[in-house]
């Protein structure tokens, strides 16, 4: 019973990280119908930037803030320079460009920061919390991780729902033609979408790296899990991304805990395949029909 509780709680924590990655993928997918394979790579790179700042300033929070800012800049810069030219081209062009980005950014990280594993500090204690003498299987930092992603998601959801900028983004995502005819500068809105995705990806990178170490490929697995979570949620739905992340995190935690941690990646890919076969629109697609 205690074991089950521990697995569940740590599943929630990792699930929130997958949710963050999924959310960043959804933000880009909604606006551009493009899956950004470079998302994990961008998050890895911004975490390296954070580590350098932390070592130089001695302040975790300076690194944290710089990572998020770097995520925004990287996302926007990437959209402006290499994605925008592919926008009126066949969709595959954009996909290949993002794969190219992943290769490029992982190569650059190797050149700049070296290929060795580096440990990334955590903001709070990573020793497990206990109730009485019962270990919960999560640390203070894990709680911070879950809350940080939750807060980001809620702020984002509220901004989408209640602000004019949010409405502009939704209108551009749902129907670019009508949005443009109504005066929305859709190209600019898409850049903002990439910047937000960069921010959330950077958050995921900073939050996951204390438990995975940091190296040029360190976000690859997280990216696959985040992608799986996004597909479970339907790629179009921010809420779906978060729920998908949580479901996957908890499921993988049980698999890792009860069956062995070397099975998690296989199970994640299995889930991905099954979802794509049975409900390719994701769990939250409902009966909505997409016009092509």
């Amino acid at each position: 019973m205690v074991e089950f509780l521990q697995f569940t709680l740590s599943g929630v924590v990792f699930g929130m990280i997958y949710a963050a990655v999924a959310l960043s993928l959804v933000l880009i997918w909604r606006g551009t119908r493009l899956l950004n394979y470079g998302q994990g790579g961008m998050a890895m790179f911004t975490t390296y930037v954070a580590i350098e700042v932390v070592y130089r300033t001695g302040s975790y929070w300076a690194g944290f803030v710089v990572a998020l800012a770097a995520g925004i800049v990287l996302g926007a810069a990437f959209q402006l320079t290499v994605i925008r030219p592919t926008m009126n081209k066949p969709p595959l062009n954009g996909v290949i460009v993002t794969i190219g980005l992943l290769t490029l950014i992982e190569g650059l990280a190797g050149i700049f920061f070296g290929g060795q594993y580096r440990s990334f500090p955590a903001a709070f204690s990573v020793t497990g919390l206990k109730i009485g003498t019962t270990p919960l299987g999560v640390s203070r930092f894990d709680v911070f991780t879950a809350l940080a992603v939750l807060a980001t998601t809620l702020v984002l959801a509220a901004a989408f729902k209640y602000t004019t900028a949010g409405l502009r983004m939704r209108a551009a995502a749902f129907n670019a033609t009508i949005a443009r005819l109504s005066g929305i500068r859709v190209a600019r809105v898409l850049t903002v979408g990439w910047a937000l995705a960069g921010l959330i990806g950077a958050l995921a990178g900073v939050l996951v790296s204390p438990s995975t170490f940091l190296y040029p490929n360190s976000m690859d697995t997280i990216f696959v899990f985040g992608f799986t979570a996004a597909v479970i949620g339907g790629l179009d739905s921010p809420v779906g991304a978060v729920v998908g992340g949580l479901l996957l995190g908890i499921a993988l935690s049980y698999v890792g805990g009860y069956l062995g941690s070397d099975l998690t990646a296989v199970v994640a890919l299995g889930v991905l395949v099954v979802v794509l076969m049975i409900r390719p629109g994701g769990l939250f697609s409902g009966a909505r029909i997409r016009r092509v």
Binding site: R168, R170, N175, T177, I178, A179, S182, G183, I184
Partner: protein, 268 residues
Amino acid sequence: MSSAAEVAPAGAGESSTLVLEGLVAGYGGVIALDGVSLSARAAAITAVLGANGAGKTTLLRAVSGMIRPRRGRVLLGGADLAGRNPEQMVRAGIAHVPEGQGVIAELTVEENLRVGMMSWRGATRRAPARAGHARAANSRAERTAALDEAYERFKPLADRRRKLAATLSGGERQMLVIARALLARPRVLLLDEPSLGLAPRVMTQVMDLVVQLSRENGLTIVLVEQNARAALAIADHGVVLNLGRVVASADARTLAADVALRHHYLGF
């Protein structure tokens, strides 16, 4: 007799006349519009007619910037707007309602309407319709007032403001897209097949609305219609396109009376 003389229509006059000169546009290697010239007056309905593939929709798309004209001029109030993108065109006063009752289905009715005001911020101020109208142009209060005005005019939308646009009937959707276009406060309204797919009774309502917008609000209306008979019944002027060229341009009544032309190009 008519109240039009007392209430000066919002954008009426020379500055709202839309003039197209030698407009050429197309897709890839296909020229869909081959040197079209026409003039659409303020407070009047100009019907653009012709068979499928005559270039009617392309004409509207070229005017609103959805496609870039290859040659020619799009003059509004004397300024050449050709080559601008849709975001700029709507700010310059040209609102385009594309065919197919294009609501944003995933947004609520009210959100759809708010999208209609997205061109307000940073827009160049146009001549105010009423005194004191322009000063507070971007304030929340004025946005709310504009929404209320839209609900007042389109009452069925008011009852459904929190509903997703996907749940609306065809007629309500057409109402919503026109209301949305009006919230941009255009001088020129481009309507592409507003009657398409509507029940006859609803179609009559939409046509009445178009008349009202031209007579009472003084909008310059360019109406593209497959249903030439219905369009000529409300239009002041008619332009007939065939294979991307103007084959006839005359008073609507004259066109409707021209049996040979009707038979040849308009199918009635």
